[in-house]
């Protein structure tokens, strides 16, 4: 954090550049930021709601589209943030080899950009859904923000480790590509844990992403349990993981110039 504070301007510069290069100026930017997630949402809605006629108690009369939306966007931020962060150092090799600055800033800028972009998309999507009468529980917003913070910090932690390993071991990216799909279906995004048979539920509970994704959906979707002790544990765990990830990153960083 000290590095962040003294390099505020640099971090801001990286973030600005990251946002610009990804979504501004390119005609496809808006598509990536909003249309693409909306399309995904539409496809899942059609498949599960209209084709399979998915219906479970947790929906409680609310629409399946909203249920999906509040799970899908947090996933997108995380997936894209960590995915892009994995490449953050390697794709900036020219910069890393020529300028002295805290390399972790590149990871933070990448993850932050993804979160900001999809937060904006999320806001637009929720507003649109509200027009059709699918409203979220506003009372859940404070706890959602707390969970989002933990979610973000967790993405930073994974991004740090992956980006550093990727410098030395370029196969990581390909390995992750196939893993992401698996993780997507092993995380309660298209379904809720409660709808699963007992045997599967125990297994999925081992997925560390299950808890935050479930909780982030819960607080916005029905807001039945606004605060849970687990939320705090999750956020603290994320912070600890970030601290450990940062140690790992700083240690691996020492030899970046050898491998880039």
């Amino acid at each position: 954090m000290r590095a962040l504070r003294s390099h505020r301007l640099l971090a801001a510069n990286f973030l600005k550049r990251e946002l610009e290069s990804r979504y501004v100026g390119t005609g496809i930017g808006a598509y990536l930021a909003l249309i693409n997630p909306l399309l995904q949402l539409a496809v899942y809605t059609i498949v599960f709601s209209l084709v399979f006629k998915t219906q479970f108690a947790e929906l409680n009369g609310k629409s399946f589209t909203l249920f999906l939306a509040v799970g899908l966007w947090p996933w997108l931020m995380f997936r894209e943030g960590v995915g892009r962060a994995t490449q953050a150092i390697v794709s900036n090799a020219a910069l890393v080899g020529k300028i002295a600055f805290p390399r972790e800033l590149l990871v933070y800028a990448t993850v932050t950009a993804s979160f900001l972009i999809h937060l904006a998309g999320f806001a637009v999507a929720l507003t649109a859904l509200a027009f059709f009468g699918d409203t979220i529980t506003l009372a859940g917003l404070p706890s959602w923000l707390l969970l989002l913070f933990g979610w973000y910090v967790l993405a930073l932690a994974l991004g740090l480790v992956f980006s550093a390993v990727q410098v030395y071991w370029r196969e990581l990216e390909h390995l992750l590509d196939s893993l992401w799909m698996l993780v997507f279906y092993a995380t309660p995004i298209l379904f809720s844990l409660a709808t699963l048979p007992e045997s599967l539920r125990t297994w999925l509970a081992f997925n560390p992403l299950s808890y935050p994704v479930s909780r982030m959906r819960e607080v916005l979707f029905d807001g039945k349990v606004l605060w849970a002790a687990g939320d705090l544990v999750f956020v603290l765990t994320a912070v600890v993981l970030w601290w450990i990830a940062r140690r790992i990153f700083l240690r691996l960083e020492e030899r970046f110039d050898d491998a880039l």
Binding site: S6, H7, L9, L10, A12, N13, R17, A94, L95, G97, K98, I99, A100, F101, V165, Y168, W169, R170, E171, R251, L252, E253, E254, R255, D257, D258, A259, L260
Partner: protein, 396 residues
């Protein structure tokens, strides 16, 4: 000044590079980076280098290519981390390392200005105010809005220097950058550096130009194969280094004489024979002796070719050059395709030392130069005069 605390402290700096390529063995590289063990087949670029630089001092680093100069600057600039040892810089710094350094190749010039500002912790707005000054100094026109990767090396240096002048750092690190760009710009840079130094700035300079070293730096350090060979007064070090490299050049020249053109009638104009005072090589003269340069030039089409003759010092410094075309002296045909030349220098007043004659075959139009044949000679004598040649003179 001498009592102020050091601006740069370098202690036992060493840097080893892995010679294995990334990609294959990636996991092994990862493991050795994690365990902080030396990479396999490590190549040592720098070995136990220590020095300090106080504010207001200027230090030149000289040495041959591959001696570790650039690595040392990178370590000080913080771009790479030392394998062992410690380096500390207490102050703001502008590093103009190898070409394009300090710049993001994908960013435009203007974006790089903002990036440099951010790196130095200067709010972009504050630097924007100096934009005029930067643009003025760099003088690269509209290119400022194009990505750096489209710049010529001269433009990159211009921009780099311009930014450095605008931020006025505590420490300026330059790696050969003053040798890039046209002469006018070089002079502008030198003028600025002199002003910067007299204003209390600190300079770390890597240069092959002993002129720059002596002009800009008080101290110098001579690196050889990653180690400090000599350190001290810039004048003394630069002279010692010059003497060493002249000697080395001369040795190289003796060890690798310019490849002789393939004998026989291969299809181009070439010098077949070159003799100095009747000898093919290693002619010895005393100061004031005459020197005759005689040789044959092969002409594939039987037309009379021209020849250009250059006299150089052993380290390659040109002394005098002329040619049969300039002198209006056509070559004499001695065989259907062979033409002879004979050039005579009367009372050669070169100072004692090692020299060489280079003969270049040229086409009959005197337009194109085809090959080079070199013959070495030495001038013996004892004199305390300095320079290359004794100019006709008298004391009054």
């Amino acid at each position: 000044m001498t009592r102020s605390s050091p601006l740069i402290i370098a202690e036992n700096l060493s840097k080893h590079y892995a010679s294995i390529q990334s990609g294959s063995g990636g996991l092994r590289a990862l493991a050795s980076a994690w365990r902080r063990v030396p990479p396999r087949d490590a190549f040592s670029a720098l070995e136990n280098v220590s020095f300090t630089v106080r504010p207001g001092e200027s230090l030149a680093i000289v040495g041959e290519n591959g001696a570790g100069k650039s690595t040392l600057l990178k370590l000080i600039a913080g771009v790479v981390k030392p394998s062992s040892g410690r380096v500390q810089v207490a102050g703001s710094m502008s590093a103009l390392l190898e070409l394009g350094s300090g710049f993001h190749p994908e960013y435009t010039g203007a974006q790089n200005i903002a990036l440099s500002a951010a790196l130095l912790g200067i709010p972009a707005a504050q630097l924007a105010a100096k934009r005029e000054q930067i643009m003025d100094f760099a003088d690269i026109g509209d290119a400022i809005n194009k990505p750096i990767k489209t710049y010529s090396s001269g433009m990159v240096v211009r921009l780099g220097f311009a930014i450095a002048t605008a931020v006025n750092p505590d420490l300026l690190i330059t790696d050969e950058v003053m040798a890039v760009g046209d002469e006018a710009f070089q002079k502008k840079c030198i003028r600025w550096v002199e002003g910067y130094l007299s204003g209390g700035g600190t300079l770390l300079l890597v240069s092959h130009s002993m002129y720059h070293v002596q002009k800009l730096c008080a101290r110098a350090m001579w690196l050889e194969r990653g180690r400090v060979r000599m350190a001290g007064d810039a004048m003394a070090i630069s002279q010692a280094y010059l003497a060493y490299s002249q000697e080395k050049d001369a040795q190289d020249a003796r060890a690798h004489p310019v490849a002789e053109p393939i004998a026989g009638d291969h299809g181009l104009y070439h010098v077949q024979r070159l003799q100095l005072n009747g000898r093919e090589s290693e002619a010895r003269l005393s100061m004031g002796d005459d020197l005759s340069v005689v040789g044959d030039v092969f002409s594939p089409d039987g037309r009379a070719p021209h020849v250009a003759i250059g006299l150089v010092r052993a380290d390659g410094v040109p002394v005098y050059g002329t040619g049969s075309e300039i002198g209006g002296a056509p070559l004499r045909q001695t065989a259907p395709q062979v033409f002879q030349f004979c050039l005579r220098y009367d009372a050669v007043s070169l100072l004692p030392g090692q020299y060489a004659i280079r003969a270049h075959a040229m086409d009959p139009e005197g337009m194109r130069l085809f090959d080079t044949k070199e013959a070495h000679f030495s001038i013996d004598g004892a004199t305390r005069e300095m320079g290359v040649v004794r100019l006709s003179h008298r004391w009054e």
